[in-house]
């Protein structure tokens, strides 16, 4: 909860384009990604928000309606470790909202090629599971989750399988090189908080300010929020604005353009982190030794 004084202070500051943590209106907190020793273990920090994602794979039976596709599930469960405002084993409205937006951004945007997860049509397929653990909460959960899950999917490698007729053997990770997932694109979520700034005397709404990446305190004051999921190819995967203050159409187009710039930055950050991790794992250049690829040269 937030006191009336704090609320007033925050909105007054916004009127003169100032934020509590000194950021500008359109400044995202820098994200930092670190990978664990195992594939698909990602730790992402964004300001004080901290998220851990574990990607895992297991063989199951595919959905009967979609025999040629694998299964991808995202589990987002916010416990009281993130903040005491969340209850354990009980989903609040806010939590459900977050998990739905994440679901749309990551799963329904078709980021993961589900058909490549099929092993034997209608019988066996991979189930890729992303477990998201929220360690610390300071706003921006959707953005952080989306980036962390995508980084995890890029980082994860599943064991290779051999299909001989109907029999499937899973090869040991040490015996055969594990295979990466086929990720089609990298959707990035960008969330803006909308604040109604009122005139002190007339109490009329002067303008609606869009503020990027709200912290937990700012979230409590905001009148609405809008999440845009976009990738570096300028494909908009979703625009989600559940209830709250209204905003003109042209401003949403403007926001999308700004979100695209943010998406570029996040994509670059994830790419860089992945590359660094790859280099660290590739010490001694064993990858070149294991490769069966011939040198290609032009005639």
């Amino acid at each position: 909860m937030i006191s009336i004084n704090d609320r007033k202070f925050l909105t007054e500051a916004l009127k003169v384009s100032k934020r509590l943590d000194g950021r500008s209106m359109e400044e995202q907190r820098p994200m930092e990604v670190t990978f664990g020793s195992q594939f698909g273990h990602v730790e992402l920090t964004m300001g004080k928000t901290k998220v851990v994602v574990r990607i895992s794979a297991e063989i199951t039976k595919p959905n009967e309606r979609r025999p040629f596709e694998g299964i991808f599930v995202v589990h987002t469960d916010i416990g009281s470790m993130a903040s005491p405002i969340f209850e354990n084993n009980h989903q609040s409205e806010q939590e459900i909202m977050i998990s739905q937006v994440v679901e749309k951004a990551v799963r329904r945007s078709g980021a993961l090629d589900l058909e490549s997860l099929c092993i034997v049509a209608g019988k066996k397929c991979w189930e890729i599971r992303a477990d998201v653990h929220y360690l610390d909460f300071d706003g921006g959960l959707v953005d952080a989750t989306c980036a962390a899950v995508m980084a995890g999917l890029y980082h994860f490698k599943k064991p290779d399988v051999d299909v001989d007729g109907g029999a499937v053997t899973v090869c040991d990770m040490e015996e055969r090189h594990p295979v990466a997932l086929s990720v089609l694109h990298l959707p990035v979520s960008v969330t803006y908080g909308l604040f109604e700034l009122k005139n002190d005397e007339t109490n009329e709404v002067e303008k609606v300010e869009c503020v990027l990446d709200c912290t937990a305190i700012e979230r409590q004051v905001q009148n609405a929020e809008i999440t845009i999921t976009i990738n570096k190819n300028r494909d908009i995967c979703q625009i989600s604005k559940p209830s709250g203050v209204s905003i003109e159409g042209y401003r949403i187009v403007e926001l999308c353009e700004k979100a695209f710039q943010e998406a570029l930055k996040v994509t670059e950050m994830i790419d860089k982190a992945l590359k660094e991790d790859e280099e660290m794992r590739n010490k001694g250049n064993w990858k070149a030794l294991l490769s069966a690829e011939n040198d290609r040269y032009e005639k």
Binding site: G36, S37, Q38, H41, K48, K50, V52, R54, S56, H75, D77, G79, S80, M81, A82, S83, P84, E87, N88, N89, R129, D131, H133, L135, D136, F137, D138
Partner: protein
């Protein structure tokens, strides 16, 4: 210690496995408590992958038994102490939970101290595996899977001396003599862990004091 911002106390313990623990409390209970004179302890264990299973429930039960003996619950009647343990890295095969149990207990102890929850004293835990009739302290993943039996032992430590056995969880086949040897060795190892813990706590308190002084 003290790594999370929104909770009263937190700690991370890495020893083969990686475990992070948070403590919030005493806060108001949301449900009616059964015991009107004691604080209620809510313990949640989240595995790295998947939903909590009976394995986590077993760890939870063991930790409860240790907490019952160490946390001074009668100071906060009808209040809630919320403890969340997040396992980040399993560190051992799916059939085992010695390493996890020992790491969880140590993390809980540090987090409780960080949150300034009144306790009767310090408790520490160690994992021991018996491989080829040999005792191995803090076993690795491979040693755990090769072992004939595994033991997680927790002691109450007073003045750097292990004074009381709080919990001993053993799995596998072992003889009576082996168990006594395990308990003996575990007591010494728990003392070492306690010394290490004290150092960390001292460091944590010093850093904490510095931050407080800076704010004034």
């Amino acid at each position: 210690m003290n790594i999370l911002n929104n909770v009263d106390g937190s700690a991370k313990w890495e020893q083969g496995t990686s475990v992070i623990c948070s403590v919030t409390g005493p806060i108001e209970t949301r449900r009616r408590t059964d015991e009107p004179t004691l604080a209620q302890v809510e313990l949640v264990i989240r595995p790295a992958i998947g939903q909590a299973t009976t394995r986590e429930t077993l760890i939870k039960d063991r930790i409860y038994s240790v907490l019952a003996a160490t946390v001074v619950r009668n100071l906060y009647p009808r209040m809630l102490l919320q403890i969340v343990i997040q396992i980040l890295e399993q560190g051992e095969g799916t059939g085992y939970n010695v390493l996890k149990l020992a790491a969880c207990l140590n993390a809980v102890c540090l987090a409780l101290i960080d949150s300034r929850t009144p306790m009767t004293g310090l408790f520490t835990a160690v994992a021991i595996a018996i491989v080829d009739d040999k005792l191995i302290l803090h076993p690795t993943r491979k040693q755990v899977s090769q072992s004939t039996s595994t033991h997680a032992v927790s002691y109450f430590v007073e003045n750097n001396k292990a004074t009381g056995l709080l919990m001993c969880e053993s799995e596998g086949e072992f003889t009576e003599n082996q168990l006594f040897e395990v308990l003996e060795q575990a007591a010494r190892a728990c003392e070492d862990v306690a010394l290490d813990m004290r150092e960390r706590i001292e460091k944590g308190v010093k850093e904490g004091l510095r931050i407080d002084a800076g704010q004034e």
